[in-house]
């Protein structure tokens, strides 16, 4: 139980850390925040998906650094 709670807390922290950009108020899209939350609330399966999603973002981020900027 405690382990699960700790895992969840870690995940929550991870999700929050990865959500980087500062809020831009002109085009509010509140739904994306709720979608991310559904990962946190989706149990163990949600943890796995969150990790996969973050991993893909990370890879994409690295890839973009090497490739020339888009025209």
């Amino acid at each position: 139980m405690l382990q699960r709670a700790a895992l969840r807390a870690l995940l929550v922290l991870g999700v929050l850390v990865v959500l980087m950009p500062a809020p831009a108020h002109a085009y509010l899209d509140p739904a994306s925040g709720s979608m991310i939350l559904q990962l946190v609330l989706g149990g163990a399966a949600g943890v796995a998906v969150a990790v996969r999603l973050l991993w893909r973002r990370l890879l994409r981020g690295l890839g973009q650094r090497d490739s020339p900027p888009p025209q």
Binding site: V12, V15, L16, L19, P21, P23, A24, H25, A26, Y27, L28, D29, P30, A31, S32, G33, S34, M35, I36, L37, Q38, L39, V40, L41, G42, G43, A45, G46, A48, V49, A50, R52, L53, R56, R57
Partner: protein, 462 residues
């Protein structure tokens, strides 16, 4: 056309000749066909959870109401009286929330999801909630989270939390914003120590933070979630969790207020019996379709006349009293009384797009009988409504009227005047009768034995 249904691009609701139709776009029609073929739909309709629906010939002139053209139509069973969440009690909103979640869980089992989660999609058959927006259900697409989750929070969960945890009335908040209470507002309204209570940390606090952080960053999150393998089971798990949170919510303030009503009886046994007999006889004079019981309190007279009508709408401004009525009706009926929290001095206006999405109280069905028992002194002596205007308003409602006048000598009326100057020279039985006679036919008058209360049975001028 029902002005409240325009947001759905795949279907539209029409009221034609007293029948309620829903016409569909080609895409919406495909979804309907899939839904109609499912076991979920048949079971939910049979259980009364979903509004009774059958395919129908599209009404003439409906071809152009959707930009895509229409591919088909269904007819819905008509709801006895349309009401809105800002007129419901805590218990009603909670039951409606559970219905929304139960339907979603049943839908998920058969590969459907709900594309929204608006409390305005629930209406009432007496005290039984019915979900009316069948266009809400669509086949679940792989990797799709529950799009209606935030809306569920704004229009169901947050209002319930504010009443359960802070004792706030949610009705003014919902009436103030048709989108409901935002996560950020709810976070600010709750206290730090509420963080440990069910629903607050994740659904309120974390959601508010995430919305703030993720807003407008323009990421194609839906596609990312799908590619990362967001699953059906995750939606289900979240909905089951929400159901536990909602089912556990209680409004403790209501119960403490209820003890007041029991010992607050201002009638002798004989007067009470005479009043009941008078009201019953007046209501039974003809068959009644819709009765309004204004200032119903805990609904004694609404229940009395219920067997004489198709539908009774029992209204009172006192949230706790109406909640008690709702609880009793759920326990022991009758099944055709709809309790609503309505302040007649501040009744529901037209709201939303062109002020037509949510209709004013008086435009949702006129009563053929109005009961106004132990009410006039409140509206006149507390609300300062001129007696003549009040009688006009009763008459404009269009139906017959049973009204009680509590004179100034009555201890309850005297209590209202205890701390204010008596400017109410028009508040006399003689003046009241003169005004009534100008707008109604007076059928019967009964002074109660106490000497300070008068009952009138009146007939509308047809």
């Amino acid at each position: 056309m029902d002005p409240g249904s325009f947001r759905d691009r795949q279907s539209r609701v029409l009221d034609v000749g007293g029948r309620i139709y829903r016409v569909f776009s080609p895409h919406g029609w495909e979804e309907w066909k899939a839904l109609a073929a499912s076991g979920f739909f048949a079971r939910a309709v049979a259980a009364g959870q979903l509004v009774a629906t059958a395919e129908a010939v599209p009404p003439p002139g409906s071809e152009t109401v959707l930009p895509t053209g229409i591919a088909g139509a269904v007819a819905h069973q008509r709801v006895p009286f349309v009401s809105y969440p800002y007129e419901w009690t805590f218990g009603m909103l909670r039951e409606a929330a559970l219905l929304q979640l139960d339907l979603l869980l049943a839908a998920l089992d058969e590969g459907f999801t709900a594309k929204d989660a608006s409390s305005y999609n629930v209406q009432w058959q007496g005290v039984r909630p019915t979900f009316i927006d069948i266009g809400s259900f669509e086949r679940w697409t792989r990797g799709e989270p529950w799009i209606g989750y935030l809306q569920f929070c704004q229009l169901f969960l947050y209002p319930l939390l504010l009443t359960a945890y802070r004792g706030l009335r949610f009705q003014p908040w919902l009436r103030g914003a048709l989108e409901g209470i935002t996560a950020d507002e709810c976070r600010r309204l709750l206290r730090r120590r509420d963080l440990l209570r069910p629903g607050v940390l994740a659904d309120v606090w974390l959601q508010a933070r995430l919305i703030e952080r993720a807003a407008g960053n323009g990421r194609p999150l839906r596609a990312e979630l799908r590619d990362a393998g967001f699953s059906h089971a995750m939606v289900r798990r979240n909905v089951e969790r929400l159901r536990r949170v909602v089912a556990g919510l209680r409004w403790r303030g209501a119960a403490s207020a209820w003890s007041r009503y029991a010992d607050d009886c201002h009638y002798s046994e004989a007067d009470r019996a005479a009043k009941r007999a008078f009201v019953h006889a007046a209501a039974a004079r003809r068959p009644r379709r819709l009765i309004w019981d204004l200032g119903t309190n805990t609904g004694e007279y609404a229940r009395l006349v219920a067997p004489l009508a198709d539908c009774v709408v029992a209204m009172d401004r006192d949230h706790a009293a109406v909640e008690l009525l709702f609880t009793r009706l759920r326990e022991s009926g009758p099944a055709n009384v709809l309790p609503l929290v309505i302040d007649l001095l501040d009744p529901s206006p037209g709201l939303g797009w062109r002020q037509g999405e949510r209709r004013p109280l008086g435009e949702r069905g006129r009563p053929d009988l109005t009961l106004a028992l132990a009410l006039v002194h409140h509206l006149v002596l507390t609300g300062n409504v001129p007696l003549a205007e009040l009688v006009d308003w009763f008459a404009d409602a269009g139906g017959d009227l049973v009204v009680e006048l509590v004179t100034k000598d009555d201890p309850m009326a005297a209590r209202l005047l205890a701390n204010k100057p008596d400017h109410y020279v028009d508040y006399t039985a003689a003046r009241f009768e003169e005004l009534l006679a100008a707008r109604f036919g007076i059928i019967e008058k009964l002074p109660l034995a106490s000497g300070t209360r008068l009952l009138y049975a009146l007939e509308a001028r047809r």
